[in-house]
């Protein structure tokens, strides 16, 4: 339970805390701002930061690896992120039924999905509604005629992997598994920026063959 520290003890602890807060603030500054070099990201099959930036598109930034997860749809089917990425880029949207901006954003994502589905775009809408409010997910999805998969993450397993502290939070993930854009919150106009980012990402991908489309 709670620990109450004595004033003397606290004063002794104050110094490291102050240093810690200064460090935390320093950490928040972009490395380039501090004049420090930015190293390349992970190797292996993942695309590196350098490769992404080489695309020359300022709309996209390498924000690190997209952690893999497996979640169930409302129908009980399992969807794994890495499998969805085999078809092309993924918009990963964390939302909840009680969140009004989320409800405004989802029909916009549906329109985006319809425009770029043929080009390989997948939208995964992860509901972080806890199991207590999950009965409201299906009626909402039906009323908005959402056709992309709605995944349930009541225990916030994927939510924690992606550090979700507020909804909606939307990630654009490249087929290589890199997060290339991040949107927190939703305001009218955000979807236009997201669409530009989707287009920029699709433009740097090879045109999908008929075979890959079928798969």
């Amino acid at each position: 339970m709670r620990r109450v520290s004595s004033g003397k003890h606290c004063r002794m602890d104050r110094q490291p805390l102050r240093s810690a807060l200064v460090l935390a603030l320093l950490c928040a500054l972009p490395p380039a701002f501090l004049g420090l070099p930015v190293a390349a990201a992970a190797s292996g099959t993942q695309a590196s930061r350098g490769e992404l930036l080489a695309s020359g598109d300022a709309l996209l930034e390498d924000l690190g690896r997209a952690p893999d997860f497996t979640l169930r749809t409302l129908q009980g089917d399992r969807i794994r992120l890495t499998e969805a990425l085999e078809r092309g880029p993924v918009i990963l949207d964390f939302w909840a039924t009680w969140c009004r901006p989320c409800r405004q954003a989802l029909p916009q994502l549906q329109a985006l999905y319809e425009r770029y589905r043929e080009a390989g775009l997948t939208v995964l809408a992860v509901s972080v509604d806890d199991p207590r409010s999950q009965p409201k997910i299906a009626p909402f999805a039906r009323s908005q005629e959402l056709t992309f998969p709605i995944l349930t993450d009541g225990e916030k397993r994927a939510g924690r992997l992606y550090r979700i502290t507020a909804v909606p939070t939307t990630f654009l993930i490249s087929p290589e598994g890199r997060i290339v854009a991040l949107h927190r919150g939703y305001r009218k106009g955000d979807i236009m920026l997201l669409e530009k980012q989707v287009r920029a990402l699709l433009d740097r991908l090879p045109t999908p063959t008929a075979e890959s489309k079928e798969s």
Partner: protein
């Protein structure tokens, strides 16, 4: 979990610094990497419980995760400091509040340390957190992250038609949560062990049984908690009836304390501690409907969190005019209807009812009713305009509110290239009845909340907000303890929400914040009044 070790945390922050400046992503070996995130909050201003204009407070939450394949290791550390003199209750701390190891495959998850889990819909057990929510403890004043974990072992798996969730451990609140932070029901001491076994009989039909052995509630010794649940998908039935494409599902759960299923059955009699919850959902064409019922009696287990069936409305005035679930005795229902209307309008209708009874002379009587009818309409009448309207009417006699009604409007207009104007206006009128042996009076009051802001997609928002109320219960400003005010109150504030980069976001609030109830993610809590400046910086790597 409590480790009081500043130097260790300092070292971790050095790692964080190294991660942030030397490499945007810290990789280890084949496929392993570190994820770091940090939430820093700074407040300077006045506090309602202290006669001081010079309060400063800092809260920092630091989360570190190492991921490699199916393995995840992590810890969470929190710091708090304030300028309050120790004689008023010193609550400064720096602690590691969580540490965990998790191994997960698509069909199996094993977690050791601090974790989260829910049995069924939470009638018996729910361990959870509210990410991003920093709460205030009233006395001594302190800030802390909301978390109600289980410290122990959680195993979750599926194989064929079988589903298993087993858990054992100690239910804990955030160890920093000061006394009084969970004003109504603190977590219980002691340990809990048990789980749920589910069996899929056919596709769409699942039955489950839960059992927990728990100790340390009010009575000494252990007690047995158990329940059963049934989940049905009835789409084929509807198809057979000719309603192709329609969806119908049902979920029911019953739980009891010291429950003897074969002799007690699904008893809902007074004096027999129980919880009963049902949910039916129906979807057809572009319409969806859900209907849920609840009946909770003597079921404040201090480890559970059953469905509240109280609509969580995100409009400001209605969000704070909510109803707290009382599992000691509450029954009710909630209906939600959503659909599409002509000309692109979408409709959201919520209706909820609840009744609480109070224990008097050994009997449950004195019913107190809660009702809410809420209607919201949304549309984009023009491509660049988003319009939302709402109206609500209700009462909550447990809180003395005999009637309230509210209406409002929100509009977002894109002006050019990602720039948008956002405006909102809400109005509420309420009536409160105060009836005691000495007083019997009605109070009527009005409230207005309005915001005006501008946002730039991908960069942030600047908004100004104003709130007015002539609620007699709030006329006396708690921030000026020695002065008794009798005028209507007003709160003015400004919020700058700025995306510094894709990794860092800063939110600056300046002005007055009205205290009261706030609800996030289905959980409601009290927020104290605040006047001053608050800076929040969230970072992720």
């Amino acid at each position: 979990v409590t480790v009081r070790h500043g130097p260790l945390l300092l070292l971790l922050l050095f790692v964080f610094l190294a991660t942030g400046t030397a490499a945007q992503e810290l990789s280890f070996g084949e496929g392993g990497w570190l994820q770091v995130s940090n939430l820093l909050e700074f407040q300077a201003g006045r506090d309602p419980t202290l006669d001081s204009d010079e309060l400063t407070r800092q809260f920092d939450q630091f989360i570190l995760d190492y991921l490699q394949g199916d393995l995840r290791l992590g810890l969470r550390a929190e710091f708090y400091r304030d300028s309050i003199q120790p004689e008023f209750g010193d609550a400064d701390y720096d602690q590691i509040t969580q540490k965990y190891a998790e191994w997960s495959r698509p069909d199996l998850r094993i977690r050791v340390g601090n974790g989260y889990a829910i049995l069924g819909r939470g009638l018996l057990f729910r361990a959870f957190e509210l990410p991003g929510v920093v709460r205030d403890a009233i006395f001594p004043r302190a800030r802390y992250a909301e978390s109600r974990d289980l410290e122990g072992v959680i195993i979750e798996g599926r194989r064929g038609p079988l589903q298993l969730l087993a858990l054992s451990g100690r239910p804990v609140e955030n160890p920093d949560a000061p006394y009084g932070a969970d004003e109504v029901l603190p977590r219980r001491d002691g340990t809990v062990s048990g789980g749920r076994l589910g069996l899929q009989l056919e596709r769409g039909i699942v039955v489950g049984a839960s059992y927990l052995r728990a100790d340390g509630i009010v009575e000494p010794g252990t007690e047995d908690l158990s329940g059963v649940d049934l989940s049905l998908r009835l789409d084929p039935l509807l198809a057979a009836l000719g309603a192709q494409g329609a969806g119908l599902s049902f979920y029911g759960e019953y739980a009891g304390r010291r429950w003897q299923p074969f002799t007690d059955g699904l008893s809902t009699r007074d004096g027999r501690p129980h919880a009963l919850y049902t949910a039916t959902t129906l979807a057809y064409s572009s319409w969806g409907l859900s209907f849920e019922t609840k009946r909770y009696h003597q079921f404040d287990l201090r480890i559970n969190d059953p469905p509240t069936l109280v609509p969580e409305i995100s409009y400001h005035l209605l969000n704070r005019m909510t109803h707290f679930l009382l599992t000691s005795d509450e029954q009710g229902a909630q209906l939600s209807l959503q659909g599409r209307l002509p000309r692109g309008w979408t409709l959201d209708l919520e209706w909820a009812t609840a009744r609480n009874r109070l224990l008097r002379n050994g009997r449950y009587e004195l019913p107190k009713d809660y009702r809410l009818l809420y209607l919201s309409l949304e549309s984009s009448p023009m491509a660049d305009l988003q319009l939302s309207l709402f109206g609500a009417i209700g009462k909550d006699k447990f809180e003395g509110i005999t009637h309230h009604h509210a209406l409002g409007l929100q509009a977002q207009q894109v002006v050019r290239d990602g720039w948008a104007l956002v405006g909102e206006f809400e109005f509420q009128q309420a009536e409160r009845r105060i009836a005691t042996t000495l007083i019997n009076e009605k109070q009527r009051y009005d409230e207005i909340f309005t915001t005006l802001g501008i946002s730039l997609a991908g960069h942030g928002t600047l908004a100004f907000q104003a709130e007015f109320s002539n609620d007699p219960a709030e006329k006396d400003d708690p921030l000026t303890f020695d002065v008794v005010e009798d005028d209507p109150r007003a709160w003015y504030g400004g919020v700058l929400d700025l995306q510094l980069s894709d990794r860092h976001r800063v939110t600056l609030f300046a002005g007055d914040r009205r205290g009261g109830t706030a609800c996030t993610s289905g959980t409601c809590y009290e927020v104290p009044d605040f006047s001053g400046v608050e800076l929040r910086l969230t970072s992720r790597y």
